[in-house]
Chain length 670, copies 2
C-alpha cells in the first residue's frame, strides 16, 4: 500500500527519460527527494590529443615528470559525481575503476578485467592500456615507478589519493631511482577541463527521522569519543561520505544512487565540527544539528586542521581546550586523503585506523533491521510484479529491450512506500550479455530481450527505511542442460552459505568456500566475491567485488581482507554466487542475508554461534533447477524459502492478478 513519504526537500527527476514500450502506467512522482541515476556515457572513442597537450604544458609549469590521475574523489568514494570524473575526462575511458598516468611522451590507463573491452574501445591512440592482473603487465604503481627511473618525479593531487596509497607509491618510485612523489595542491586536470567541467553538485540535505535511523546522532558521536578516550587521541577526522551521513542522520543527493553529501567531520573530545556548505542546510537540518555541532565551510577543513595540528603540537590547544597536552595522535581512517593526513602533521602525528564508524554502521540497530526487512519485502513484491509482467509480455511476443525492461522495473519500484531512487544502475541483460558481470545496457544501443535465452536482472533501490540489492536469473523458454546444471550448482552454493552456522569470530573469508564448493567440484568458478555489505538507506557496493580491485570493510570472498572483520549479528550482507560462460550466458543468484545468533544443540565452548536470516523475498526460477542435483536438505530449504516468500509478499497483489499467479506458480513446493 504505497503512501507518499512526509519528507520534502527538493525535486530531482530521473536523468534518463522514461520510455514507454507498451501500456505502462504513468510514472508516479510522489517523492520530491529523489536520487538521480548516473550519467549514461556512450562508448565512443574520445580524441584526447589537445587535452593531453594542455596537461603536458601544465606539468612543465609545475615541474612534474609523471602525473597520476586516480578515479576517486576526495572522499575515496567508489561512486563519484560528474565534476570528479577527472580520469574519465583525460583518458576518455568511463568505466568505474582505473588509473591514468601521463608523462611528456606517454599516457597509460590501467584497469581490471571487467573493463578491458570497454577501455580498448574508448581509448584513442595516445593511450597505452595496462590490463591489470594479466601476467607480465605491471600494476599502475609499478608503471609509474618505471617512468620515474633516473631521477624523475611524480605528481598527484594529494586530496584524491589516500595517505597509505601515497606512501606505497613513493616507496616504489624511490626504489626505482625516482626522486619522489609530489602532492600538488591544485588539480591539473581541472585546469585543463576549464569551463567545460560540470558544476560540483551542492544539493540540500534531508534529516533522516529517528523512526528510520533508530539512534539519535549525539549517541553515535559519544561512541566516537569513547574511541578517542581509549586512544588518548585529540581528534578523529571523518572523510568517508557515507560515514558522515550515517553519523549525523542526514542524507543528500550529491552522488548518483548514494544518498550522501559533500562534507567532512571532525570530532574532538569536546567538540564536533561539520564541514559543509551552509547552503545545503535548511532550517530543519540546522535545528536537527543544534548548537553542539559547529558548521564550517566544506573547504575550510584543510586550513583549520593545519592550525589545530600546529597548536596541538605546540602544546597550546587554544582552539580545542578539551584536548590534553599529553594526548596521543590524531585518528584518521585508512581511506583518508594524503592531503588531510599531511595537514594533521603527517605520519608521525596520525594513527591510521579502520574507522570505528565502519563497523558500527555495518551492525544495524533494531530499527534499521526492521526497516531493512520491511523494504526488502516491498522490493521483493515489486520484482515479482516485474518478472510476471516481463514473462507475460515476452510470451505474447512483445519486443522489449533491456533498458525498457529496467525502466519498467524502476517504475514499479517507484510506486512503493518510502522509495527514494535506485541504489545502482540496473543490470538488465539477455543471453550473452548476462555473462558480462558488470553489464550496463545503454538506451538505444542495447539488446532486445530474447525469450529463448537466459535473462539476468541485478537491481536495487534506496528506501527511507533501507537499501535493497537483488539478483535473479530467469528463463522464459527451454533452458539447456548446461544452463540448468550451472544454475543448480550456483543455487546449491547459495543455499549452503545461507544455512551456514559458525562460531563468533568467523569471517567472510572463511565462509566463502561454502558458496563455491559445488562449482569447484565441476571445475567451475566465478571471478567475483560472494558477498558485500549493504547500508541502511546508504551506500552499498553493488559492483561485485573483483579480486584485488575494491577495498571494503567486510564481505564474503577469497580476498584476504575479508578475514579482517568477523561477521557479527546485525550485519546485512549479500549472498551472490554466479557462473558466467563468455559469449553464451550468465547466472547469478543474490539474496541479502542478515547475520544473527543461532541457538545450537550443544553450544560448545560457551561461544555464541551465528547464522543467517533470509531478507530478500523473491522466488528462485523453477525452470532452471535440476532437482536431481539437490539433496533432500536443499529441497527442504527451497520449499521453506518459497513458503516464506509467498507468505510475506502475496498480500501486495490482487486476487487473479498476473503477479499473484506467477508468485503462486513459482513458490509451489517441489
Amino acid at each position: 500500500m504505497p503512501a507518499p513519504p512526509t519528507i520534502t526537500c527538493f525535486v530531482r527527476l530521473l536523468s534518463r527519460p522514461f520510455r514507454r514500450p507498451n501500456s505502462f502506467a504513468p510514472l508516479s512522482t510522489h517523492s520530491n527527494f529523489r536520487l538521480f541515476s548516473a550519467i549514461t556515457h556512450d562508448m565512443e572513442t574520445v580524441d584526447t590529443t589537445s587535452r593531453l597537450a594542455k596537461l603536458r604544458e601544465l606539468m612543465k609549469r609545475e615541474k612534474v615528470h609523471v602525473y597520476v590521475v586516480p578515479s576517486e574523489d576526495a572522499h575515496s568514494s567508489e561512486y563519484i559525481c560528474a565534476a570528479d570524473a577527472r580520469r574519465a575526462f583525460i583518458s576518455g575511458f568511463t568505466g568505474s575503476a582505473g588509473c591514468a598516468i601521463v608523462t611528456q611522451e606517454k599516457a597509460a590507463l590501467s584497469t581490471d578485467g571487467r573493463y578491458f573491452n570497454q577501455a580498448a574501445r574508448q581509448l584513442d591512440s595516445n593511450w597505452e592500456l595496462l590490463k591489470q592482473g594479466l601476467p607480465d603487465v605491471p600494476t599502475w604503481q609499478d608503471w609509474v615507478a618505471q617512468q620515474a627511473e633516473g631521477g624523475k618525479n611524480v605528481g598527484v593531487d594529494a586530496t584524491i589519493i589516500t595517505a597509505q596509497q601515497a606512501k606505497g607509491l613513493e616507496t616504489r618510485i624511490k626504489k626505482k631511482g625516482g626522486t619522489g612523489l609530489l602532492g600538488i595542491s591544485s588539480n591539473l586536470i581541472d585546469e585543463v577541463w576549464g569551463a567545460d567541467r560540470p558544476d560540483r553538485p551542492n544539493n540540500p540535505v534531508m534529516v533522516l527521522d529517528e523512526k528510520y535511523s533508530g539512534k539519535e546522532f549525539p549517541l553515535k558521536i559519544e561512541a566516537v569519543r569513547k574511541e578517542l578516550e581509549n586512544k588518548k587521541s585529540p581528534g578523529f577526522v571523518v572523510s568517508m561520505l557515507d560515514e558522515i551521513a550515517w553519523l549525523f542522520n542526514l542524507r543528500g543527493t550529491d552522488i548518483p544512487y548514494n544518498p550522501v553529501f559533500f562534507s567532512y567531520a571532525f570530532i574532538s573530545p569536546k567538540s564536533t565540527t561539520l564541514y559543509i556548505d551552509s547552503s545545503k542546510l535548511d532550517e530543519k537540518a540546522i535545528a536537527h544539528l543544534g548548537s553542539a555541532v559547529k558548521i564550517r565551510p566544506y573547504h575550510a577543513i584543510f586550513d583549520e586542521i593545519i592550525l589545530l595540528a600546529q597548536e596541538f603540537k605546540a602544546g597550546q590547544p587554544e582552539t580545542e581546550p578539551g584536548t590534553s597536552e599529553d594526548g596521543g595522535k590524531w585518528l584518521v581512517s585508512n581511506k583518508t586523503s594524503w592531503a588531510l593526513s599531511k595537514a594533521l602533521g603527517g605520519e608521525d602525528s596520525i594513527e591510521v585506523i579502520r574507522s570505528p564508524l565502519e563497523e558500527e554502521k555495518a551492525v544495524k540497530n533494531d530499527t534499521e533491521k526492521e526497516g531493512m526487512k520491511r523494504c526488502h519485502i516491498r522490493d521483493g513484491a515489486a520484482l515479482t510484479e516485474y518478472f510476471a509482467w516481463l514473462e507475460d509480455e515476452l510470451l505474447k511476443g512483445t519486443s522489449i529491450d533491456e533498458v525498457q525492461a529496467a525502466d519498467r522495473l524502476e517504475q514499479i519500484r517507484s510506486r512503493g512506500e518510502n522509495f527514494m531512487g535506485l541504489s545502482f544502475d540496473t543490470i538488465s541483460s539477455t543471453g550473452p550479455n548476462a555473462a558480462v558481470i558488470h553489464y550496463k545496457p545503454e538506451a538505444g544501443n542495447c539488446s532486445v530481450i530474447d525469450p529463448k535465452a537466459i535473462y539476468l536482472c541485478d537491481s536495487g533501490a534506496q528506501y527511507l527505511d533501507g537499501t535493497t540489492d537483488t539478483t535473479r536469473t530467469l528463463h522464459f523458454g527451454d533452458p539447456t542442460d548446461m544452463e540448468r546444471k550451472s544454475y543448480t550448482l550456483v543455487l546449491k552454493g547459495m543455499i549452503a552459505l545461507d544455512r551456514a552456522i559458525f562460531p563468533k569470530g568467523t569471517s567472510g573469508f572463511a565462509l566463502d568456500i561454502l558458496a563455491r564448493q559445488f562449482l569447484w567440484s565441476e571445475g567451475l568458478d566465478y571471478r567475483h566475491g560472494t558477498g558485500h555489505g549493504v547500508g541502511s538507506f546508504l551506500v552499498i557496493d553493488p559492483l561485485l567485488v573483483i579480486q584485488n580491485v575494491h577495498e571494503g570493510p567486510f564481505g564474503i570472498g577469497t580476498r584476504i581482507q575479508y578475514s579482517e572483520v568477523a561477521l557479527s549479528p546485525g550485519m546485512f550482507v549479500s549472498n551472490e554466487p554466479g557462473y558466467y560462460e563468455d559469449g553464451s550466458f550468465g547466472i547469478r543468484i543474490e539474496n541479502i542475508i542478515m547475520v544473527k545468533e543461532i541457538k545450537t544443540n550443544h553450544n560448545f565452548g560457551d561461544r555464541p554461534y551465528f547464522g543467517f536470516e533470509r531478507v530478500t523475498m523473491v522466488p528462485m526460477c523453477r525452470k532452471l533447477i535440476n532437482v536431481s542435483l539437490l539433496t533432500p536438505a536443499e529441497i527442504g530449504w527451497l520449499n521453506s524459502y518459497h513458503a516464506e516468500v509467498f507468505e510475506k509478499t502475496h498480500g501486495f497483489f490482487e486476487e487473479g492478478s498476473l503477479a499473484l499467479k506467477w508468485l503462486k506458480r513459482e513458490t509451489t513446493p517441489i
Copy 2:
C-alpha cells in the same frame, strides 16, 4: 615383509624400558640408527627456590631487571634436546610450550590451554601462572613490558629468540617506559644449571641415499642460489635444523623423534658452508658432501658471519669473492635468531623472508611421494595389527594400560621395513584421557584401558622413506549415542575435506570450514587446527596446532597464517578434525592426504584444480558410525576408502590371522 635397512651409523636404544604385559614378541632391534624418544618427566612440583636465587644473583651481576627464558633452542626447534630445556629447568614446568620470566621479586610462566593443569601442578609457589588466551590475562610479552615500567631493562639470550620476536618485544617494552631489550651473550640459566646440565648431544649423521631423497643435494643448493640471484643477495643463512637436513640429504639423532642434527648452513652465490662439529661426520658423510662444501665448527658461524658482514659492508668481499659490491641484503628466514641477525649487521643489512626451503621441502618430489605412500601402507598394516590385537586382548579381559599398549604398537612398527623410530610421543588414551588433546601417558602413572570407553590413539613413525602420523578413535564395547553422533560428525568433516576440489591458489585457511561445518551446525567445535604439514623422514608437527600458539609454514585451520601459502601438488598434510568432551571422551580421526591435480569436467578459467589423494590406510571404526547421519555420497566415500585399505594392506597378514579377520570385518562395505 620387513627387511633390515642397509644404513649403519650407531646404536641408540629406546630411552623408555620395554614393558611386556603379556606374551609380546621380543623387540627386534634390526636397526642400528634409531631415533630416541623424549625423556619422560614426572608431573611433580619442583622446588625452584635455590635456582631462582642463583639466577637473581646473576641478573644483578649482568644488571638485568627482567630475564626472559623462551622454550626454543637456537634453531627455533619445536622439539628440543635435554640440554636446551632451560625453561623447564628454571620453572619446573615440562610442557612443550611456554615462556618463563623472572624479576628480582616475581617469576611468571605463561603457557596455553593444553597445559594449564600440568603447569598448575608442576609450578611451585615461587611462580605465577599466566594462562595464555584467557580474558584479562596478559600475554607474556605484555607481562614483560609491565615489569619493565619505570626505566627497567629486559635481558634474553639472543640466540634463542628470533629477530622478529625481539623487535616486537622491544617495542612493547619501550611503549611501557622500559629502557629496552638486551641480548645477552651467555645464557644465565646454563650458568645456574652448571654441572647438572645434560650434555649437548653430538651424534653422528647419516647420509640419506638418493633412492629415498630423490634429488642430489647440489641441485637443491642451486635452487637457493637462484633465489640469491633474484634478490641480488650476497648470502642466505639456514638455521632451521630440518631445512639443513633436507638440503644436504643428511639425517641425525640430536633431537628426540626428529632426524636432525645441530648445525647451521651458509650459502653464497659461490660457496656453501656447513657449520657442524666435524666429529659428527664419518668418511661416508665427508665423501657425500665433497669438496664444494666447506666444513666449519658449529659455533664458528657467529664470528665468521660478523667478519663476512663487515667485509661485505666495507665493499671488500675478500672472503666471498663471488659476491658483488652492489648486492642487496643478507637473506634470513623469519625463524632466524636475533643473535644471527645482529651478527649480519642488524635490521638494515638483512631481508627477513619466508625460507625458500620451507616450501621446496613441503612439495615432495616423485621419489619422496612414492616413499610416503609406501611407508603409510606399511604403517597402516602395523596399526591394523595393533588394533586387532588390542581389541582381542581387551575382550579376553586382559588388563593393559595406555603405555603398555603404546609400547606394543612401537614393537609392531619396529619390525617394519625402514623403521627408524617413532615420530612423536604416542598418544594412547582411554575414556576421559582422550579428551586431553595432547595427552601423554606416563609409565606407571597412566590409566588401564577401559574396554567400555572410547580409545584414542595418535601415533606415527620415522621410516627411511617417509614419516607417518595417524589417529584413530575406537570403541570396543557399546558407544553412547553422543559418542556415535560426535564421531560421525567428525568423520563427515574429514570426508568433506578429503573430497574437496579447489582451484590453484587456495589455502588451508579457506578449506578449514569444510572439516568443521557439520560440528558447527550442532554447536560443536575443536580447539585445534585441522591439518599440518608432514616431512619426508623429517620433522612433522605432531602437536595439533592450537590457536595462535604455533607458527608453521602451511596447514589447514582457522589461523590467518594458513592463508599465506597455497596448497600445491606434492604437499602432504594431515586431515584431523576432532571433538572433545572434557572429563568424558575425545574423538579425533586423522589421515595424511596428498595434494594433487584433479581433472575436472569443465576446467573454468584454464586454471588447474587440485584435490587430495588418501595416503593413510587404516579403517575407520564401524561401531562409532551412525550411518543415518551420512549422505549417499559419504557412504560411497567410506566404502571406496575401505576397499582401498583392504586392497593395499591385506597382503601383510597371514590367512586366518587375527589382524586379517579384523581388517575384513572393519572394511566390509556399509
